[in-house]
Amino acid sequence: MDTAIETNNLVKRYGDVTAVDGLSLRVARGEIYAFLGLNGAGKTTTIRLLLGMVKPTSGEARVLGTRIRVGEKKPWDSVGYLVETPDAYPELSVRENLEAMRRLRPGIESKAVDGVIERLGLIAYADRRAGTLSHGNAQRLGLAKALLHNPELLILDEPSLGLDPAGIVEIRNLLIELAREQGVTVFMASHILGEVSRLAKRIGIIHQGQLLQELDVDELERNRWRRLVIRTRDNHAAHAVLLNAGFSADITSDGMIEIKDNAAIEQPDDIATRLVNAGHAPTMLHVEQEDLEHYFLRLIGMDGGNVK
């Protein structure tokens, strides 16, 4: 695999606090990789490690083939990034902030500033002082700084933060387009699985500094719990019918019948037929899929907000 990002047993400790604990991951070139975790899970520290802003306690990180050390200079002309909040010089205009960044990235033509302003929908705000921008437009400016030099790799911390729904869709489409058409690798940290599942090809889930799971987005569908929920006029009788038929049916706390057997979930019409034949026709029958938020919380050991 041609890797854009590679970490090997990366550890970062601040005193007694282990922010990143033995992180090993690979991000292929051209891939959109979502790095998912709660606040404080270690996402931003990982990003800072990848960008050479903090020293690893142990382990190593490689970005575009270069081993990252603090103060390392080599890969940065090919990397665009947005770390934590999208801060800018408040007294400079949007255009001046981007011009300052252009000057610090040698070799970029001056028209790139106008290009990225247009691309991020900042034309109306180009001459406005950055200190007066809304959160959403400040986020756009942060993304514009990251995209200014057409980088091979984008490392973005919560790229949708502060954007309105239309802005979220716009940025999502922009990142997908960059990956698909220009082969840009996107490594994005987020805490919203629902958002990243629409964008990323692979997802790494980090919790308390450790990588709990890496999965393809396709696997999300397979891994999420599904259940068949049934209601009849006599749920207890219907429950007995299903048990006799060999299904592991349960009565839920709200009095409905729940079946988690794949056979039932795949063929709910068969269950309906059995119940009708037994004289307990369903008044309601549907397949429920675990929502992404619940799935994420279950993965990290928190279910519905309660630690298991």
Binding site: R48, L51, G52, M53, V54, K55, V70, G71, K73, W76, D77, V79, Y81, V83, E84, T85, D87, A88, Y89, P90, E91, L92, E96, E99, A100, M101, R103, L104, R105, P106, K145
Partner: protein, 257 residues
């Protein structure tokens, strides 16, 4: 270190767009104006008696109202006020990156961190030197306006050299302030250090050890003190330590802001 000229351009843009140059110029312009007031007081004993305490202070500082005394006052005021004001400029140039949380955008660029730090030092030095020139020119205007007795070209030359060298020594001593602004992630720590330095300057100068305390040395020079080589070496070493510490911090310390 690459791309230094562009880094200097960026620092210049940030300084120009802020209100800081105007505020520092306004603040510093009080020095020659205050000096001019002392000159008026010294020239007019009646007024001196009426204002009481201030005239007593003017007598202590300058003695007589003439160009040598006024230029010496400017050199001393620049050396002492510069510790505060130039320190304030260094605090802003370096500390604002932490206060505005913009430092992270400077850390993973093709332009090296050393180049950015160097550019910041250049801006601090140029800004401070420009303020010195500014108050010098105002001082010439004020001295002329209060009709100080004419002086020889040599007097002006000597006065100008004294102001330039004492300002140079003061500017050289802002580098540790830049380190404290970086390590302290903002303005608070460096400004605290400036206040502490001013306090120590007074105490150490009173104890008679001023020629060995870096921040006392420019003022002693401005007063025409007979400084040995050790004093200049101390200023140079302090300045180099400040530069090295700041570079070290930006290049090697964990940057979590």
């Amino acid at each position: 270190m690459n791309n230094i000229t562009q880094a200097i351009w960026v620092e210049m843009l940030k300084a120009r767009r802020s209100r800081m140059p105007l505020l520092t110029a306004l603040g510093f312009s009080l020095l020659p104006l205050g000096g001019g007031f002392f000159m008026i007081v010294l020239k007019d004993p009646e007024l001196a008696r009426r204002v009481g305490l201030i005239s007593a202070k003017a007598q202590i500082t300058m003695g007589v109202a003439d160009w040598p005394a006024y230029l010496r006052f400017l050199a001393l005021a620049n050396a002492m006020g510069g510790v505060i004001l130039f320190g304030f400029i260094a605090s802003w140039v370096f500390g604002r990156e932490y206060s505005d949380r913009t430092v992270k955008d400077l850390l993973a660029l093709p332009t090296s961190r050393s180049a950015i730090v160097f550019a910041k030092f250049v801006i601090v030095a140029v800004w401070s030197a420009a303020l010195t020139v500014f108050i010098y020119l105002i001082g010439l205007g004020v001295g002329t306006a209060v009709a100080l007795p004419p002086a020889s070209a040599d007097t002006f030359w000597q006065g100008t050299i004294t102001i330039a060298i004492s300002a140079g020594l003061t500017i050289a001593l802002v580098t540790p302030i830049a380190f404290f602004a970086s390590a302290g992630h903002g303005y608070l720590l460096p400004m605290g250090v400036v206040v502490l330095v001013m306090f120590l300057t007074q105490v150490i100068a009173m104890a008679g050890w001023g020629e060995y305390f870096p921040w006392s040395i420019p003022a002693l020079y401005a007063q025409g003190g007979n400084l040995g080589t050790a004093s200049y070496v101390i200023v140079i070493l302090t300045s180099v330590a400040g530069i090295a510490g700041t570079l070290f911090w930006w290049e090697l310390a964990d940057q979590t802001h």
